[in-house]
């Protein structure tokens, strides 16, 4: 059984397509492990294998995928990590999940997450925190903590999550797996329970870069149900280049925490990886993103504002939790939402509502959208001189459960390297680049819109050179 789980998803798919591996056996191997999950990574696990045959002919070879709870899966609980949607079973499936299913990746289970994707530690879930497989006293990161932990622990061959301010990349970094946020619009958002509409994007969490490329290939594409979705201009290729000759890497001073914002152990691994990049033929030079220090502020105005509107539909009228004490409509609204939402969600709804409220719009939301324009401009300028931008993914390694829950602002600082990219709509990924005190460190690469293939190529070459071994977490 454990042989099967040693295979990467790509290798497993190839084996199934070659007739060397039975897809049913593969599915059951993972299903059993997922069902025995001790990390609280899953909120729902399939009880039986999928009915269809056809795995052998399908590009993804029947390799099952773990799906973040906030993707609607017809007839299967889709709760976005929130008690206000406890037990909610949607009547339709998210486009991205349907596409993966059609390509031969059936649903393994739904993964735990920070409630409505708001958080960087998966401690905000309505269904309990997720534990980091590298050290169960620590957080896996968030909001896609369940997906990251599941892949890192070998409970799922691969997974999908969503990234709004870093929610794929940061847990990937803390769990020692690969995570990617594509260009905004590359993947359909139809059926993805919304947090911040102009920032949310679906993406893969995988054991290695090749798996990420394969999964992403079957996620991207225009969807007529999503008016913000785009046709991806080229096919996502499986990377093969083993060097970085001619690749110009820019390292923004503002995001490398030379002022002490980044933990020393993380800085060390980051610098070492830059040296490895140079050894592979890349040039590494400093670059400027002058408005990057304000990205966090802009993000924490825009995202909560959009979220405050996106979460208003959870009002107890048509679905989900309802607290109805016969005290009238207003009481029903207020009590339902008080009971159903956790503290972080309430905080962000309050922040967002305030930012949009009469008299404050221009000063807060309006200003943030202007800062956003400046950040996009900064990236555009940087990409005239550089192919890709490199930063640490997370300023620190996995912290202890409860270490930052008392200070929302401290928790928000988890995201300072990852939020600029979604604000600009550009793609970025994180690969594990080593350990610091036994905990994984993530290395982030970002590129211009639609540069996914270039990103994957560069990440692949680095990954080979780094030769990170994540098997300890899978034991």
């Amino acid at each position: 059984m454990s042989d099967v789980r040693d295979l990467t998803a790509t290798a497993a798919a190839e084996a199934v397509r070659a007739g060397e591996l039975d897809p049913g056996e593969l599915f059951e191997a993972y299903r059993a492990r997922a069902a025995a999950d001790e990390l609280n990574a899953f909120t729902w696990v399939a009880e039986e294998p999928p009915v269809n045959g056809g795995a052998k002919e399908a590009p993804l070879g029947g390799v099952p995928v773990a799906v973040k709870d906030l993707f609607c899966t017809e007839g299967v609980p889709s709760q976005a990590g929130s008690r206000i949607l406890k037990g909610y079973r949607p009547p339709y499936t998210a486009t991205v999940v349907a596409r993966l299913h059609e390509a031969g990746a059936p649903l393994l289970g739904k993964t735990n997450q920070d409630e409505f994707a708001m958080g960087s530690s998966n401690e905000n879930s309505g269904f309990g925190p997720v534990l980091n497989p590298w050290d169960r006293s620590r957080v896996p990161g968030g909001s896609s903590g369940g997906s990251a932990a599941a892949v890192a622990a070998g409970l799922a061959p691969w997974a999908i999550g969503t990234d709004t301010g870093g929610s794929i990349r940061q847990p990937a970094a803390l769990c020692g797996v690969v995570g990617m946020k594509p260009t905004y619009g590359a993947c359909s958002r139809y059926g993805m329970i919304a947090f911040a509409s102009s920032l949310d994007q679906a993406g893969p969490l995988t054991r290695d870069v090749t798996d990420a490329a394969l999964l992403l290939r079957h996620m991207v594409g225009h969807d007529r149900h999503d008016s913000t979705s785009l046709r991806f201009p080229e096919e996502i290729s499986l990377p093969s280049r083993e060097d970085l000759t001619g690749v110009r890497l820019g390292v923004p001073e503002e995001l490398t925490g030379s002022d002490g914002g980044v933990e020393p152990g993380v800085r060390e691994r980051f610098e070492a990886t830059l040296r490895q990049a140079e050894a592979l033929g890349a040039t590494v030079e400093p670059c400027q993103l002058p408005h990057a220090p304000h990205a966090l502020s802009a993000y924490y105005l825009i995202a909560p504002a959009e979220a405050s509107a996106n979460l208003a539909r959870y009002d107890g009228v048509r679905y989900g939790l309802r607290v109805d004490g016969e005290d009238g409509l207003l009481a029903m609204y207020e009590k339902t939402r008080a009971v159903g939402f956790g503290a972080e969600v309430k905080r962000r709804i309050m922040l967002g509502t305030y930012a949009l409220s009469s008299g404050y719009y221009e000063a807060y939301y309006g200003a943030a959208q202007k800062v956003r324009t400046k950040i996009s401009d900064d990236f555009r300028a940087a990409f005239e001189r550089f192919d890709l931008i490199a930063t640490p993914t997370s300023p620190w390694t996995a912290f202890e459960l409860g270490a930052k829950t008392d200070d929302p602002l401290a928790m928000y600082l988890n995201d300072f390297c990852t939020v600029p990219m979604p604000l600009a709509g550009i793609p970025a990924l994180s690969i594990p680049c080593g350990l610091s005190d036994g905990l994984p460190v993530g290395f982030q690469l970002a590129g211009p819109a639609f540069s996914e293939n270039r990103l994957l190529e560069a990440a692949y070459a680095l990954e080979r050179a780094i030769a990170f071994d994540g098997s300890a977490a899978r034991a």
């Binding site: 009547p91 619009g185 922040l351």
Partner: protein, 102 residues
């Protein structure tokens, strides 16, 4: 910088019932976060266009072709209070006292 009255006002806009303790805590937390965020107001943003959409997706429309709707039982499947009326199934709710904003 956010006082109790403001917190209560925003909570009402957001239809969130907060305990007294929560109101106090929220006032502190939000003020703390806003202090940090406020710094963007020091930037010179004169003449900068706000980003309404980060990608160029203007003019996306669909043809006026009807598509199948959900069967009524499916539409009501998750309803907290499905109601059978002479006309058919509906979503039961407490009555509004007045119009929007009561």
């Amino acid at each position: 910088m956010l006082d109790r009255a403001q917190v209560l006002h925003v909570a009402r806009l957001a239809r969130l019932e907060l305990t007294d303790e929560e109101v106090q805590k929220m006032a502190g937390e939000l003020s703390h976060v806003l202090e940090h965020i406020e710094k963007i107001r020091e930037l010179d943003l004169a003449g900068v266009e706000p980003t309404a959409h980060v990608i160029d997706v203007a003019g996306v429309v669909r043809a006026d072709d009807p598509a199948p709707s959900l069967p009524v039982e499916v539409a009501l499947a998750n309803a907290p209070e499905p109601v059978e009326t002479p006309a058919g199934l509906g979503f039961g709710v407490p009555s509004p006292g007045q119009a929007p904003g009561e």
